[in-house]
């Protein structure tokens, strides 16, 4: 499965995504510069975390105008996987591939720590190797992860089972205390209607190896690979 990881000026988690794909998943991966315009050779696209354009103006607001974004949108419209992690999620909402917006954390502070999230929907190409309601420990590292959308959008996301991950406590309860940023309904990750574009604030690539303290994130990448292989 051939992966592209998009590098915007100010991205900084692209090396981590490349590492997981190449060294842990052992699949081919290319870092693609944001001024490139062709993604036709790739099976999946990852928009990594970081501070594209320094988060100036608004997180992801400038990156959506990068030349590569037309190709990313075309890739998504073709039904192929597009995964946005952290700043990547913010870019996906800015370019309209996913609804809603990521506001400042309620604490107004950057937070970096492991958090628990519950797998709400394991029927996606990103979560098929998890069980429904499985509790994962995955780090967050953001200052703007407070997911917000209008009530109709939230209702639709919930009704269509498009909230893929929800912040929860260690036992799997989505309590207010387990919500690190004030996101509506403890939303940590959502998917588009077609089921091929996932945005999430937590960083699965950061806990995909036991030596780093856990590997709950790895099955997300393995799920992508499995789905792709099944389609061949």
């Amino acid at each position: 499965m051939n992966f592209a990881v998009i590098l915007f000026p100010g991205s900084n988690c692209e090396v981590d995504c490349v590492h997981v794909i190449k060294e842990v998943l052992q699949e081919p991966v290319t870092t693609v510069w944001h001024k490139d315009t062709d993604l036709s050779q790739f099976d999946a696209v990852i928009l990594p975390g970081g501070f594209s354009y320094g988060d100036y103006l608004r997180c992801g607001a400038i990156a959506r105008f990068s030349p590569i974004m037309d190709a990313v949108i075309a890739h998504a419209k073709a039904g192929k996987p597009v995964l946005g992690i952290c700043n990547g999620f913010q870019i996906l909402t800015e370019c309209g591939l996913l609804p809603g917006v990521l506001l400042r954390n309620q604490s107004l502070q950057f937070i970096c720590e492991d958090r628990f999230i519950r797998v709400e929907n394991n029927q996606t190409m990103y979560t098929s190797l998890y069980t429904k309601n499985q509790v994962l420990r995955i780090p967050i590292a953001h200052a703007e992860g407070n997911y917000y959308a209008d009530p109709e959008t939230i209702a639709a996301l919930e009704a269509e089972n498009r909230v893929v991950f929800r912040y929860c406590d260690a036992q799997g309860n989505p309590t207010p205390e387990s919500n690190p940023n004030g996101a509506i309904n403890n939303i940590a990750g959502i998917i588009n209607e077609e089921g091929n574009v996932l945005g999430m604030m937590p960083h699965p690539e950061r806990l995909s190896e036991v030596i780093l303290g856990g590997d709950d994130g790895l099955a997300l990448f393995q799920s992508m690979l499995k789905t792709w292989r099944n389609q061949l």
Binding site: N12, E113, G213
Partner: protein, 736 residues
């Protein structure tokens, strides 16, 4: 009453220094020339008051590839890889404008490291503040932490460790020491050197503006009420610009077109140009009008002394300018040829072709004045050394005493601080903040790096020499507890006004003590920074020689943390409990006394303690290790328990008074745990070892139980201690 100052006095030069300028130039300097001398001869750039003392440090060793004098030190870690690392202070700016002061401190040290051709892989910081009851102190803490987070997080460099320490002496003088560690993959070190007549000199990165003018001079005087007016001398950081600069510079350095490269840090283009020329025995001739500028109408003086951030001076091979421009253009940055290398030994500065400065490069660097300052033992030491801790009453209730200790700002969890920092980006952080040292894996190898940054300045205050020795030894101990062999140190020497003989005495003594430990532990000094004048009308900071230690793990699987691992593991103390309660956190926190004798460090004992613990870790016998530091044995055991969510049952045999035994801070002590199946082998080792080691008890249950000679002294639940320890800092910060 104000007396009129001469222009040179205004810039911080003494009359005799001005005389020296006249004799070098054999004429009166122009205003920009005077500015260049003032900046380069400031303590911050010239080390004029500290140089003779710094020569006492051992700076060579089998791993040292680059010692002091470059942008950062470099050590060899084998396999063609090397580590560049350095710590630097940004105290004065942070005292005035905490967010930008701390942010640009981080930015500056990161540039120092990638200038060497290294990919920055980790940052650490040592922060010191006054009493948190003071609103200004809380403002400074919040601002500094936010500034570090804003810069480091955006750069994508994990902030993995350091310390946050509180003491009244830092009330008006916070200390912000930032350290950066970088990995040189291909063994190719880049230096700040100008060579090759006719090679172009290029200014790259951000444009030059009017910020930070004379920051180096500002950093070389005491803080006063007027300091607030120097807010414009504090630079403003742009981490996004620096991220682009980092990527562009590393890409450029892969081309081999670079002859020399240096950050425009303190004293901006002035210091980078004359230092590069001096190192290369060459000259540099450039035109300030060609330097890309942020605003119109800047004078040569302003351009020369601007400390605008995120700029580099690069000398490249003639004819390869377009390669440089292409790379910088890709990253959306400017790269302008501003002049060329000459062979006349002069820094020649022009404005539109007309010469405005013409100074021998070495006059600004090597020939800066050197002072041998007067030194005098401070009188307070006579009183503090006489103090007998046993004259104080024993605590009525040791459970309460321990609980109280766990809430000390110097002992409690610093999670509130480090959760603001991205400490996991680059997916190499194996041991996260909160352990004795941070451990990073080196991808593609079996190796790992351990790093720590700290100093107990109370020890140094109460015995400068012993405190200096301890600062190095404790840093090495932290690295050993994490599974690594100590390799080398960088240091940041934060002191008061060196013109005061008492301050200079503590400086010299501390350095001599540090040097002694460095020699004994074979951890040479590869560089660092001196920060004097950390002093205001209320007095000087505690003498604070912060030590940044680098350690190597031959196998990343040796990475060891402090937490108890399994029920039933045996707990041992490596080292000796002595009758030493002076200078302790216990006296400070419980009795509000910063006095007594600093513990005495026995370097032979230290070495043997470190050796056996490291051997135990490498052979898989030791599964948790923790240095006994602030709070002594009782606090160390508690920290191991509550971070592992496992209790302990321990009996101590010594007949020392209980508060001395439980909270005394004797040096060279490491608590280790041994899994049951390895215990007989470990016992055999002990029998054959001359290192003093005693069995204390077992990891057991969910309470901390400590008895002395089989009499129960402490029995508190882990849960209660954990929540006190974890909530203490947020609690103090939120109650106001």
């Amino acid at each position: 009453m104000k007396t009129t100052k001469t222009p040179w006095q205004e810039m911080g030069l003494s009359d005799s220094e001005y005389e020296k300028v006249l004799s070098i130039l054999k004429r009166e300097p122009s205003l920009p020339e005077l500015g260049m001398f003032a900046a380069m001869w400031s303590e911050h750039c010239s080390y004029k008051n500290s140089k003779p003392i710094l020569r006492l440090f051992p700076t060579t060793g089998k791993r040292v590839l680059q010692g002091p004098g470059e942008n950062a030190g470099v050590i060899d870690i084998g396999d063609g890889q090397a580590i560049a690392f350095k710590v630097e202070s940004h105290n004065h700016p942070s005292a005035i404008e905490p967010f930008q002061g701390a942010a640009t401190g981080v930015g500056g040290i990161i540039r120092d490291v990638f200038t060497m051709g290294a990919r920055p892989i980790a940052c650490l910081n040592s922060l010191r503040f006054g009493n948190l009851e003071n609103a200004r102190v809380r403002y400074l803490l919040n601002g500094v932490v936010d500034g570090i987070a804003a810069y480091g997080n955006c750069m994508g460099i994990p902030t993995v460790g350091g310390e946050t320490w509180f003491n009244d002496s830092y009330s008006g003088n916070p200390l912000v020491n930032a350290m950066c560690v970088g990995l040189i993959e291909n063994g190719k070190i880049h230096k700040g050197i100008a060579k090759g007549k006719g090679n172009p000199v290029m200014a790259v990165g951000a444009r030059t503006g009017r910020d930070g003018i004379h920051g180096a001079t500002f950093a070389s005087e005491e803080l006063s009420e007027e300091s607030e007016n120097k807010r414009p001398a504090v630079q403003v950081g742009d981490p996004f610009m620096e991220k682009l600069l980092l990527e562009a510079c590393l890409e450029l350095m892969e081309t081999d077109a670079v002859v020399g490269i240096q950050d425009m840090g303190a004293a901006g283009i002035t210091s980078s140009s004359c230092e590069m020329a001096a190192r290369g025995n060459s000259g540099i001739d450039y035109d300030v009008a060609l330097v890309p500028q942020r605003e119109k109408g800047m004078t040569p003086y302003e351009i020369l002394l601007s400390e605008s951030q995120e700029r580099m001076l690069v000398v490249v091979e003639k004819g390869r300018e377009s390669e440089v421009t292409a790379i910088f253009d890709k990253w959306g940055l400017e790269a302008a040829v501003i002049g060329q290398v000459t062979d006349d030994g002069y820094v020649t500065v022009r404005e539109h072709g007309k010469i405005v400065c013409h100074i021998p490069a070495k006059a600004l660097t090597d020939e800066a004045p050197i002072y041998y300052k007067e030194s005098k033992r401070p009188a307070y030491l006579d009183d503090t050394e006489k103090f007998d801790p046993l004259s104080l009453p024993e605590p009525q209730d040791y459970n309460e005493a321990l609980k109280n200790m766990m809430t000390s700002p110097n002992i409690c969890s610093k999670e509130w601080v480090y959760r603001h920092y991205d400490h996991m980006v680059r997916t190499s952080t194996v041991t996260r903040p909160g352990s004795d040292a941070a451990v990073l894996r080196i991808k593609g190898t079996q190796k790992g790096l351990a790093m720590s940054l700290d100093c107990n300045s109370r020890y140094v205050y109460l015995n400068p020499r012993e405190g200096g020795k301890i600062a190095v030894a404790e840093a090495a101990r932290n690295v050993v507890c994490s599974g690594a062999e100590p390799m080398a140190i960088t240091n940041c020497l934060n002191f008061g006004n060196p013109e005061k003989p008492e301050v200079f005495y503590t400086f010299r003594e501390a350095v001599e003590g540090m040097a002694e430990s460095c020699r004994a532990l074979e951890t040479p000094v590869t560089g660092g920074n001196v920060s004097f004048y950390n002093e205001n009308q209320h007095g000087a900071v505690y003498p604070t020689p912060t030590v940044g230690m680098m350690g190597l793990l031959t196998d990343i699987n040796h990475a060891t943390t402090l937490s108890f691992k399994n029920e039933g593991d045996s707990i041992y103390l490596v080292g000796i409990n002595k009758d030493e309660l002076g200078a302790s956190e216990y006296l400070s926190h419980v009795h509000h006394l910063n006095t007594g004798k600093t513990p005495v460090l026995d370097l032979d004992l230290e070495k043997s303690v470190q050796a056996i613990v490291l051997k135990g870790i490498r052979n898989g016998l030791v599964n948790a290790a923790h240095d006994c530091a602030e709070g002594g044995l009782a606090v160390a055991l508690t920290e191991m328990a509550i971070t592992g969510n496992l209790g302990s049952k321990v009996n101590l045999e010594e007949s020392l008074r209980s508060d001395v035994l439980l909270f005394g801070e004797s040096q060279s002590r490491i608590i280790v745990t041994i899994p049951q199946e390895k215990q007989s082998l470990w016992e055999e080792w002990i029998k054959n070892s001359s290192t003093p080691i005693q069995y204390l008890g077992n990891v057991e249950g969910k309470t901390i139980e400590i008895s002395q000679q089989n009499q129960s002294k402490i029995n508190v639940s882990c849960e209660e201690l954990y929540s006190l320890w974890k909530e203490a800092l947020p609690c103090i910060l939120s109650k106001h």
